[in-house]
Subunit: 81 residues, 2 copies
Amino acid sequence: MRATVLVRPKDGILDPQGQAVESSLRKLGFAVGEARVGRVVDLELDTSDPQEARAQVERMCAELLANPLIESVEIDVEAAS
Amino acid sequence: MRATVLVRPKDGILDPQGQAVESSLRKLGFAVGEARVGRVVDLELDTSDPQEARAQVERMCAELLANPLIESVEIDVEAAS
């Protein structure tokens, strides 16, 4: 079973990488408002139970993948590909 | 109009960050197969036409956001929030 985790800087948290992207896009002539950059983590999990998979990924986020003080997390669990 | 771009290392391309996540998760006791790490870019666009938005974001990917040789791109265009 596969899971996708999106880790984004929370609103109001400084995001220098996003600011750099925003400014570069404007210099290239694109009319963009804000740009924010985060991480996407794709995981192959051992379990085939979606609920168990989600619980595991939530623990992974708490223990390694994200800093809950400054980052928000979005978890998608998909059927095995 | 908002767009979300997922930029991932292509299959077969070395992903040291993903390998580090994978090995750390295993050391923490999680049974994971492969882990891959990419970027998520959230953009606020000036246009309100979904087709025009997607075309703009495709150009942004080609000019700045991704390296087509080693990265694959997934674009989601959403209604304004």
